[in-house]
């Protein structure tokens, strides 16, 4: 089956419905008698809700319900939670403040829901919402994380004095301080990792339906992890028992992390649907998603890297302030800690690392995982420092990296990670060659002749995927395990339903998971249906995020396939009246070794269900197996990205002239899909570096609240990419997969900023390096004309 098996660039099975307009996203679902819900949101960043007058909505046409936070509170439902407990240095738990689905008493960010109107149509709900009068007492707001803990700053939650959620640390402070003291050279950088809005193209959406006959609720929801949504909404919010709540995540139009989290809107839709005995539908408008989807990044960091006389890195000290917004979103606590600081060793052997992270509340939209989640921030720290270190030491950035690479595995970093396999120099050398690095000087001179500034930058990233052994994440504070599940149901004719707890929202699982099954069983990918995203159909699973579906989800499939094959072999032995030990299973056939006696896969499957020819007291009829796979370690994808830019000093405009990505993802199931993941990841990272910026004014108003103000990468902002791979097998899972979904977004910001700073000759510029930002920086340097020949 080499044409469609592991490693084949199979065209995607799911594309047929998407290219013909037959996809079924949540907003495409229409339930009989559905009403529309509209959320009235606080226009203030911080305000007491004194009174809400809904009396004028009574006579508005179509209105079926108007509810406030006070009514929601009366029903004694639980709060939304952050499911990962992080401890401060002093051992005290993080200060998680209550987060009600509809704010009662006080609104804490612009966009915080304060009331809802439900009507026959959305237009009617909006019309009626205009008649709701909310009387606010506006309070001072704080949006800058560096001012949130200052004396006199407005207190957002009683539960979190000084707006501090935790003061966390990792590593050995004393040893790191000694390394800094003994260093021959210390490179110091201060920077902001800019706040981003994920902007999956499908806005979030939910439809809730109550079935009075059974007392059960169904939720269609644009979610990356429907089972986790069901668990949280059931066990923590207390909406309904888990067995009375079905969550369906149908086609989902991109997630990038933002659809992992459990949001107020789906909870309120469920609550209202049961109250009104009508299906209630909500589809987020884009302006609303800017105000409610969890944002990403938003770090302020000071970092120092210590080098000895030979250019060896001997220490790294980092202090980061992380802005978590107005409430703690579902996994927000883990992002700037365990998903960030544990990667601060990069690809390098750094004996001493110490990192402190202060997480704070501000009157802004909550911040949580966004593609890469902590690892882009870590890569930015390490790769900017190494690049700048090389410049300050006057050595080649490639050579300095090579000198410091981890070269033997397994390697225990000084920040808890245990790197299992890799060959960082192989990626670097391949990237240098593909990029034609040696002729960069020539190209730079050519640019100079045209009055342009040319620069080149590297990012040798590492990330941790396949998160992670459940007992380990439990020790680190996670409220859940991070295994994955699979069920392989073989039909009597030999075709297969594969049920996975992962969820696809662009990754192409319906193809890649089918490739895995098809290769193993010797059937075609069209004979494999991948079923996911419905808690009534699929066994509990943890969903898709953190590049985990290959490394963890497919490992569960392999385990289930092992069991299926073992049972099928027993049955085949009976069918052929041969010893099980003499059977060989290959290319979809069981053959008695050394004979021409064989049975095709479909014949054995049929035999399993007919059950005439084996003792059913020993072997159960049927052929269906499930498995839960718990990872044995994180996986560590790594690679080298090289970005080359040309900047027009007259306008500050940056053009990316070329991009080379050489990644080691371990085993690749479908190279076409993997390349696509790299393209998309790099585009998001380039977006962060050049274009995207979430700006609040000092009152907490979101200035960049639409595509008119928030610069999404367009086709003409990006180059075509040169993408290649190197290979070291991941020893931690059966297929040797490391994961590829986030790599581009992790590598790209550092590569772009290293290239831009190389071109303009100063390190003092923050992301996004917009034309205005670069032009102003060049003006400050008083050298805009220097490049002109």
């Amino acid at each position: 089956m080499s044409g469609t098996g592991i490693g084949a660039a199979v065209r995607r099975k799911e594309d047929q419905r998407f290219i013909t307009g037959k996809g079924q996203y949540t907003d495409d679902v229409a339930r009989h008698g559905q009403a529309a819900i509209y959320f009235i949101r606080s226009p203030h960043a911080h305000a007491k809700i004194k009174k809400i007058d809904t009396s004028r909505t009574e006579k508005m046409p179509g209105v079926v319900g108007v509810f406030t936070g006070a009514q929601f509170a009366e029903d004694k439902l639980g709060n939304l939670i952050c499911g990962w407990t992080v401890l401060s240095k002093d051992g005290s738990p993080m200060k998680m403040a209550p987060h009600a689905a509809i704010a009662a008493g006080k609104a804490n960010h612009v966009g915080d829901a304060v009331a809802v109107v439900i009507a026959d149509t959305l237009a009617q709900a909006k019309d009626a919402a205009e008649k709701v009068v909310v009387d606010y007492d506006v309070l001072p707001a704080v949006v800058d994380p560096m001012k949130a803990t200052a004396k006199g700053a407005p207190l957002i939650h009683e539960a979190a004095p000084n707006n501090t959620i935790y003061n966390w640390h990792i590593g050995d402070a004393d040893a790191t301080n000694v390394a800094l003291k003994n260093a021959k050279h210390v490179t110091t950088l201060e920077f902001v990792n800019n706040r981003l809005v994920p902007n999956a193209m499908e806005p979030r959406a939910a439809i809730a339906e109550y079935d009075a006959a059974s007392g059960s609720l169904t939720l269609w929801n644009a979610s990356q992890n429907p089972h986790v949504a069901r668990l949280v909404i059931s066990a923590f919010v207390g909406m309904a028992p888990e067995n009375k709540l079905r969550v369906i995540a149908p086609d989902v139009g991109g997630g990038f992390g933002s659809k992992i989290f459990i949001y107020p809107e789906e909870v309120v839709c469920l609550w209202a649907a049961r109250k009104l005995h009508r299906p209630v539908k909500w589809t987020c408008e884009r302006s609303e998603s800017f105000l409610t989807d969890a944002h990403g990044r938003d770090h302020v960091t000071r970092a120092q890297m210590a080098f000895d006389a030979e250019g060896k890195i001997i220490g790294l000290k980092v202090h980061t302030t992380a802005n978590l917004g107005a409430y703690m979103s579902t996994f927000s606590s883990a992002v700037p800690t365990f998903l960030y600081a544990t990667l601060l060793s990069g690809q390098y052997a750094i004996p001493h690392i110490y990192c402190e992270v202060d997480a704070v509340y501000t009157n802004t939209v909550p911040v949580d995982a966004y593609r890469g989640a902590g690892r882009p921030e870590a890569t930015f720290v390490v790769e900017r420092l190494v690049e700048v270190g090389a410049r300050e030491l006057g050595v080649s950035p490639a050579d300095l990296r090579k000198k410091n690479f981890v070269k033997t595995f397994p390697y225990q970093t000084s920040v808890a990670s245990l790197y299992d396999a890799g060959d960082y120099n192989a990626s670097l050398q391949k990237a240098l060659q593909i990029h034609d690095y040696k002729d960069f000087g020539k190209r730079k001179r050519e640019s100079e002749r045209h009055g342009k500034l040319r620069g080149i930058g590297f990012a040798n990233y590492i990330e941790a995927c396949g998160v992670a052994p459940s007992s380990l994440v439990g020790q680190l504070g996670a409220g859940v395990g991070l295994w994955e599940s699979a069920e392989v149901r073989v039909n009597p004719t030999g075709s297969v339903e594969l049920l996975t707890g992962c969820h696809q929202h662009g990754q192409g699982h319906e193809t890649t998971f089918a490739q895995l099954v098809a290769e193993r069983l010797g059937i075609t990918i069209d004979q494999v249906n991948v079923v996911h995203g419905d808690t009534d159909k699929v066994q509990f699973g943890m969903g898709t995020y953190g590049s985990r579906s290959g490394a963890v989800g497919m490992s569960a499939v392999v385990k289930a396939l092992d069991k299926v094959e073992a049972k099928a072999k027993k049955i085949a032995a009976h069918l052929m009246e041969a010893a099980e030990s003499d059977l060989v299973f290959k290319d979809g056939k069981f053959t008695v070794a050394g004979t021409d006696k064989s049975l095709a896969w479909g014949e054995v499957a049929l035999g399993a269900y007919v059950a005439h020819k084996f003792p059913t007291s020993e072997i159960e009829p049927g052929l269906k197996e499930s498995a839960f796979y718990d990872p044995t370690n994180f996986t560590f994808p790594a690679g080298c990205h090289i970005c080359e830019v040309e900047i027009d000093p007259e306008t500050g405009h940056t053009e990316i002239m070329s991009w080379t990505a050489v990644d080691d993802f371990g085993t690749v199931i479908n190279p076409m899909i993997v390349e696509g993941q790299v393209h998309g990841g790099v585009a998001q990272g380039v977006g962060q570096a050049l274009l995207e910026h979430t700006v609040y004014d000092t009152n907490g108003q979101l200035v960049t609240g639409s595509y008119m103000d928030y610069a999404m990468p367009r086709a003409d902002d990006l180059p075509s990419f040169k993408v290649d791979t190197t290979f070291t097998k991941c020893p931690s899972n059966p297929l040797g997969i490391k994961g590829c979904g986030e790599a581009g977004a992790i590598a790209a910001p550092a590569a772009v900023m290293n290239a831009i700073t190389n071109a303009i000759g100063t390190e003092k510029i923050d992301m996004p390096a917009t034309p205005q930002n670069i032009w102003a920086t060049l003006q400050k340097m008083n050298r805009p004309q220097q490049a002109a020949a």
């Binding site: 995607r12 990754q507 190279p671 998309g680 990006l718």
Partner: protein
């Protein structure tokens, strides 16, 4: 406010339709909600993203920005009508699949409808730069555009009778 409903007639994917609608109904709402043609998507509220692109009288427009009532008598083509229901795919649809020009699929109908319009205006031999500039009004968050550009170049060639040249993975 009580709305006075009004009637509009147009041809959608070759079929005449008549609908009684609230005057503020946008074309995309008529398509999605009244006609249940949900292949045309809404990705923003400022006419930037292009997920809602359809053809009206042979030209690409953003259906989120057109009042349905203003299109009385128009000929509308959506992604669902681009290829015959049981017939072969349109070459541009095929090119998107062949070149892995989509991931989550949400922007895809708008991308394909825009791409067909680019070919109508710019011909069958499209340079990458031209395609990238012409995609200014269509946002994709998944693909980084690399394979969309390849898909459109290849689809344009096939529409002109030439053999597609691009492959997603060599």
């Amino acid at each position: 406010m009580a709305s006075t409903e009004m009637t509009v007639s147009m041809t959608v994917n070759g079929k005449p339709i008549t609908a009684t609608i609230d005057p503020r109904t946008l074309l995309v709402q008529l398509l999605r909600e009244n006609l249940r043609l949900t292949g045309t998507h809404v990705g923003c509220d400022t006419s930037q993203c292009g997920a809602c692109v359809v053809h009206v009288n042979g030209q690409a427009i953003k259906s989120c920005t057109a009042l349905a009532l203003t299109l009385d008598g128009a000929d509308v083509l959506t992604i669902e009508g681009l290829a015959p229901a049981d017939g072969p795919l349109h070459p541009m649809q095929e090119a998107f699949r062949e070149n892995h020009g989509l991931q989550c699929g949400f922007c895809t109908p708008g991308m394909i409808m825009t791409a067909v319009d680019i070919v109508r205006r710019k011909g069958h031999d499209l340079e990458d730069r031209t395609i990238r500039e012409e995609l200014e009004g269509n946002i994709c968050r998944c693909t980084g555009y690399h394979n969309i550009v390849k898909a459109i170049a290849a689809g344009a060639k096939t529409m002109g009778g030439g053999a597609p040249t691009s492959q997603a993975a060599e």
